[in-house]
Structures are given as C-alpha cells and as structure tokens.
C-alpha cells in the first residue's frame, strides 16, 4: 500500500483530459474494490487495480507510468466488465502503457515491453505475425536467449512455427497505418 501524501492539485490535467477523451470516467470510482478482487494478476502488481484507478483520478500520472502494474496487466478485461460504475479500466491501462512509451518512461517490466515491440515490429514488416521472427526479436531485446527453447523446438517439430513469414500484399497500407496516420490529431 502506498502511504505517500498525494496532492490532487498537482495532478496532471492533460492526462485527465486524455482519459475523458477515451471515455474512461475514473472520477466515478467509489473504491468498492471489485476490480482488484477479480484481477487474476493482482499478486504480481506493485499498485493494485483499485489504487491505480484512484491515482488516475488524482492525475498522478508519473507514479502510474513507472509502475509494474501497467505492464503486467494481461488485458483480460475482468475489472472493466465488473466495475459497478462502468469505468473502462482496461482502456485506462492501454492509455497508460501508450503514454509511458511516448514519454520514454523506462518500462518497469522491460521484458513485457520488449514483447510488445517485437510483436508489433513483425506486424509492421509483414502485415501478419511472423512467430520465429518475433521470437528472435524478443530474445535480442530481452537478452533471454535460452528461455522456452524446449517449447520452441517442440512447436517447430509439430509444424506450428513456420520458417517463412506470411506476408500480405498490401504492405504499403500496413506501413501507412504504422506511420502514424491520424496521429496529427493527437488521439
């Protein structure tokens, strides 16, 4: 439990505006705790889901962006589904991860961030997931060369990991999507 004194006047208004724009009404939280109670990953979090929602309501962006929680959230959407005030907590987590990356905040769970960028790199390049390529990229980014080797070999021997990428024809369209089309409007 975080016992630091929080001054809402120091809250980041731009962050709150962003949440409003994405229709995440963190102010509606009355701390019932159902989000945390149903979270399957809660024991691994450094900030519980209900704390994260309250910190967000105070605009305490920095604490959240530096947390492990935003990276360990598996996006299962149990919290958002069960929230009696219909706060879209899963989208809150999406917004926080995106902000952390855009602001260059070092991810508290670098392996998870490495996975996401490896996965997206593969999509950006081929248009579809290329598993062996993304596994290689993840290993290079994370420095974990031996993890899941046995599993990888098994999957390969069963023909479930293709050596060749599955590429789309509309690569230019995919590149355009990744190039930040629409970003002009700061969404």
């Amino acid at each position: 439990m975080n016992t630091d004194v929080i001054n809402p006047e120091q809250g980041n208004r731009k962050f709150l505006a962003k949440l409003e724009e994405r229709e995440v009404d963190v102010q509606a939280c009355y701390q019932c705790g159902r989000c945390s109670a149903g979270c399957p990953i809660t024991e691994f979090f450094d900030i519980t889901t209900m704390e994260a929602v309250r910190l967000a309501a105070y605009g305490m962006e920095d604490i959240l962006l530096r947390s492990k929680t935003i990276w360990l959230c598996a996006a299962c959407e149990t919290c958002a589904t069960r929230c009696p005030n219909d706060i879209d907590i899963a989208v809150l987590m999406d917004v926080l991860r995106e902000l952390a990356l855009r602001k260059g905040v070092e991810p508290a769970e670098p392996r998870v961030a490495a996975f996401h960028s490896s996965f997206l790199g593969s999509i950006e390049h081929w248009g579809r997931a290329y598993e062996i390529g993304l596994i290689a990229a993840f290993k290079i980014r994370s420095g974990d060369y031996t993890g899941d080797m046995n599993l990888g070999m098994k999957m390969f021997s069963k023909g479930k990991l293709s050596l060749m990428p599955h590429s789309v024809k509309g690569k230019q369209e995919i590149k355009k999507i990744f190039s930040g089309k629409g970003k002009e409007y700061e969404r």
Binding site: A74, A75, E77, D94, F115, L120, E131, G147, K154, M155
Partner: protein, 287 residues
Amino acid sequence: MKLSYYPGCSLQGTALDYDQSVREFCSLVGVELVEIPDWNCCGASSAHMTRHEVGMRLPMRNLLLAAELGLDILVPCAACFQRLKAAEKSLREAPEYWDVERYQGNCRIIHISTFLASQAINEAIQQRISNLLKGMKLGCYYGCLSLRHPKITGVSNFEQPESLETIVRYVGAEPVPWSHRTECCSGSLTMARPDIARRLVGDLVEAAVRAGADALVTDCPMCQVNVESRQMDMAGGPRLPVYFVTELINAALTGDYPAKQKRLHLVDAGVLSAVMQENHRSREETV
C-alpha cells in the same frame, strides 16, 4: 450457407490444426467459407495495448476488405473477434474519425461458438452424430476475449456463458460445472512472464481436474496453446489436453480422431481416442 472467413495469425501458426478443423467442419456441414483476401493481423493484443491508432486501424482494414465480399464474417479466434468488434463499433459511430466516408457494416462478425451453438448447425450436427463421445467429461474453457468487454462483444451472459456447453451436449459428451471457465490464461504475457502464465494455467487446470474433467475444450487459439504449453514444465507433469471445439465436433461427426491430429498437441491427447474406442467396443457388444 456462405460466410467470409477471417482465420487470423494464430491459425496460420501455433493453432494451424484449429484452422484445418474449422475448414473441415464447414465442409462437412455444407458451409462455404470465403477467406477475406489479403487480410492482415488484427494487432491483438500488443497493438491496442500500446498504440491505440494502430490497434484500431489494423482490424478496420480487414472490415473494409470484408465489406466488399458482403458476407457475414466467421471468426474462430477470440482476440481477433474482440478487435474486429471494437473496430466495427468505432467505424459505425464515427467513420469520419477514421477517414472512412461511410461504413455500412452489413456484415455481422460472428464468433465461432455462436455459430456452432446455433439452431441451424445443431440440426446439421444431429443428422450425422456418431455418439462416440458419450461419457467424456469436458471442462469448457472460454477465457476472456470472446466475452469481454460485453459492450464490445455484445455477449449478454458473459459471466455464465453457455455456448461451449451447448455444443459439447450436441456431440454427446458431458460438460462439467467448474469454476475457471472465464478466467484468463495470461494471454500475451506468456512469453515475457512464463512464471505468471504457469501460475494462472496451474490454477485453472487444478480447478478442472477437481471438477472431474478428462480434458478441456476451448474456442480460443491463445488459450489452447497457453494452457497446454504451460503445463509442460509443471511439477507432476501435464494433466489435461486442450481440444479445439471443432476438433472435437469433427471427431464426433466422422467417428474418427486421426493420429496425426492427436500428435499436434503438446499434452498427450489420447483420452479422446480412448473414449471413442471404448464406445465403439460397447456398441459392438450390444449389436
């Protein structure tokens, strides 16, 4: 019946047997599938988790391609289904926001279990069912994304879904009541944090064993590979194979569970063959 088909990336890789079984099932019951030409990855889950714009525009490209075919879209992957639905919602509400002039959206996005549990498919199954799965106890495992968030998926009984149980009953097997049907398998965390994946998978496998399940059955390719692979290095060894729902139906329809399909599992999937053999034997004895 003719449907557009969006297989998604998993079904070209770790779940390629799921793809084969979906296609086989559809040809068995006379449903024609037209694969969406040049479909791309829906981005799940990394895109929507870290880059909102990309996470919306990737599935939107698929929807616009599918709109040209003008058919309802069959989606076997839970994550793809949820992303396509999210994109559809936003396209309908604000097409101009996504630089699309107008989105008619006449094509429904249909998740595989909704399709399989429908009356029409039930009738097609009943016509040729072998009843060889009788007595097989199955834990129906839904995971997350075909259900949540209901404002996206449109599912009403998202805490107590029934579609997989309905299908399991259609094919003459027995669904067991159990606790972890809609719990998370850890999704895309599995590669970065296998320790967390093992914990989540361990819990749900334990719960299914406790409920008396012989195996699990799922409609999510991510759940299937996570739950099988993360049992491999568990103390005491793996306990339950995870069948794709269409794999199970095909076995019931054709009366055959091919050895080459069984070998594609990471966990010994012999229980299905054993149940079928047993039922064969007792049927012959009665005759």
